[in-house]
Amino acid sequence: MSENPVLERIKGEVDENEVVLFMKGTPVFPQCGFSSVCVQVLSNLGISFKGVNVLEDGEVREGIKAYSNWPTIPQLYVKGEFVGGCDIVREMYESGELIEYFNTNGINVELANPE
């Protein structure tokens, strides 16, 4: 995988940032409902993350699918590990597993005040 410059770039992103979301659009303006769900979940947990907009880069858009053997976007990475797409992030959030996952990985969770 080191031969491919796009995969190297992706590896750079997930190595340099503790929490990375490859998504369509930006965290402020998601352009896909599934990406939007992931942003919402991370925001609810007060997680700071890097959003990578695949719509701005066709190579990354295709490359990220090969990188993790996962054909859809969004994709969440924590400490270099692929966590899942929208369904998995939502399921883990609803069951409380996601908070535990961030805690285990030493990432600060600050639950948003529902008020």
Binding site: K24, Q31, C32, G33, F34, N69, W70, P71, T72, F82, V83, G84, G85, C86, D87, I88, E91, M92
Partner: protein, 86 residues
Amino acid sequence: MTVAQDIETKLTESFQPASLKVIDESSQHAGHMGARPEGETHFRVEIVADAFAGKNRVDRQRMIYAVLKDELAGPVHALSVSANAP
């Protein structure tokens, strides 16, 4: 054969599920990116099968993606998955 029937047939053959629901959610995404006027672009699959026992979520969903790779590369824009063991 419709895309929904195609998905149902492939998943049934591959996993002999204890239960399977293929839900066409295209109408909720009408006019969005990836939607087509004729629909059949956005699906939700709820499947329960022995094959998922002992697999984590990522592996379960990868198994489904592998079976439906032609559909995902073609007409299906989005596939939401809930996969469990009985």
